[in-house]
Symmetry: C2
Subunit: 337 residues, 2 copies
């Protein structure tokens, strides 16, 4: 069972290693959102996403004995980089199993952080089989991307920061929108907010076609996605919510909490984050901001917090986002004439 | 005379209004720089540059009586936005004189922040004449972009943060590279470091062709630039160091302190900040980072701090920077084969 004690313990282990990320804002984004909008810039975390929090929590929290030979993880890229850097800082070998169609900066950065990268073909192989094959020889400790209590606890430290930063800004009521794949970040944040800022309500946000968490919350039981790939939001495509994360989200988010956005919304949110916050976010990391900006009718609080969960984006994809800015900019200029 | 007391007073007036910006880093950038590199991300400040610090300091520090009718400023864009937002927050009218060839996002954002924008033709008119024409009717308080003690004090708060953040990271010796136009930021930071972190040495960085501060420091007397425009580093093109800022830089930076970088260096630094720090910086805000990354022979300390001073960049210019990433990325990949 994950609880606030584990999150506080994870924070104690972070000191000097995990970055406290800022809560950003812009009058222009407030105007578009129609309410006060605060953006938790987790793209500024080490390795460019919140995933370093969970990876560091796991690598510093697992028994010394179990990780002595090193660690292994499967990931399309953000968990990969988080585990690679955490292992490097602890001077442990890391082997990362990555799909061969992952964005190239994610593969390259994982390698540059010193991990052995093993690529696999998503269509013909299962990542679990690849892990088994590697581990027949190396016997490394598997660090799961979300369904692992130490990882949930690490992601929860982001929720502690949101609670504290909201408190400093004298905000005690708000909806907190979280980009959601398997639910590690959402459930960690939900646990932290329940304990530290009960007026802040966590809500998972997902891309169209991959709204397994929204549908599972509505049904009260785990539902799966029809597809496992085919969205630009590569960072948050999971087949279903986790067995550990779902009960937490069910209790703390509940039916009707999910918000679903289009890929176009994500690209527009990336462009506006570039223009008004000066941060780089990837499509999967823009889902919550897209919900805050373009789905105001689904939100009722005067203040909304959106977690910008990652920024590892291929330049060609970022160009696609910048394309949206031209037309948005003209629209805005026209509106103020 | 500007001094540490004014900087501390400016910080007292900032509380809850000016953002403390993070000190970012990446193992990949350390590797390129050949030393530990910390980036002070002032692009994440309100209005996307450090200029809000000085503008807020001036607007909250000038006598109530003198600014009652409102404020006026001339600026190619970053001081413009800083003054516009500060005035709006204090519910004062603001009039900003901007060159008609300023980047369009800077002009648009200044307008959206509620200021009256008066455009002028850099070639045919002088900004001082335009200010006089407006003030014949409106009699607004002029807030100079750098040669104003309250503005220097406001920019100096960035130096206080660098001193504190370096202390937390246990760094007591480092060179601090600062993007330098008229010298408001450099002189403010220099005063703060002198008092709070004397082992941190401030160094002004400038683009080729606009190295008036470097040449002035070498000569010990104020030198001017041959040109006043014609660089992509629009934010930091000034004809000469200020009469107030130069004596401070002369005393605290000294001869040989300046570093000069090419436009190409700036574009490459922007691309690497995108890839590894997830921040958006503009050419003029990338000068110090470019010096840290591509001029290692001019730096002697084990740790270098580079101030990324602004991020208000037109998408077309940002695309030019992203173009550099392709070739840099290939080079890096090749090197690690």
């Amino acid at each position: 069972m994950s609880d606030i004690g584990q999150i506080l313990a994870a924070r104690d282990r972070q000191s000097g290693h995990v970055r406290q990320t800022p809560l950003l804002s812009s009058p222009m984004l407030d105007a578009i959102a129609g309410r006060r909008l605060l953006v938790k810039a987790e793209c500024l975390q080490h390795t460019g996403s919140f995933k370093f929090r969970g990876a560091w929590s796991a690598i510093t929290g697992l028994p010394e004995e179990s990780i002595r030979r090193g660690v292994i993880a499967y990931s399309s890229g953000n968990h990969a980089q988080g585990v690679a850097l955490a292992a490097r800082l602890r001077e442990l070998p890391a082997c990362i199993i990555m799909p061969s169609d992952a964005p190239w900066p994610k593969i390259r950065n994982t390698q540059e952080l010193g991990a052995d990268v093993v690529l696999y073909d998503r269509v013909r192989e299962s990542r679990e089989e690849v892990v088994e094959r590697v581990n027949a020889v190396r016997n490394l400790a598997l660090i799961r991307p979300f369904d692992e209590p130490l990882v949930i606890a690490g992601q929860g430290t982001c929720g502690l920061e949101i609670a504290e930063q909201a408190g400093q800004a004298r905000i005690d009521q708000a909806e907190v929108l979280v980009c959601c794949g398997g639910g590690g970040l959402t459930s960690g944040i939900a646990l932290a907010l329940e304990n530290r800022a009960p007026g802040l309500r966590p809500r998972p946000c997902e891309p169209e076609g991959f709204d397994d968490v929204a549908r599972s919350l509505d049904a009260g039981t785990i539902k799966t996605n029809a597809r496992v790939s085919g969205s630009i939001c590569d960072a948050i495509l999971t087949p279903a919510p986790g067995e550990l994360t779902f009960p937490i989200m069910k209790r703390l988010c509940g039916a009707g909490a999910g918000i679903v956005v289009s890929e176009e919304d994500c690209l527009r949110a990336m462009a506006l984050a570039y223009a008004h916050l000066k941060i780089v976010i990837e499509p999967g990391g823009a889902v919550a901001l897209a919900a805050a900006l373009f789905h105001p009718d689904h939100i009722s609080s005067d203040t909304v917090v959106a977690v910008a969960s990652g920024g590892n984006v291929d330049p060609s994809m970022f160009r696609r986002a910048l394309d949206r800015l031209g037309s948005d900019a003209k629209k805005t200029a026209g509106a103020s004439d």
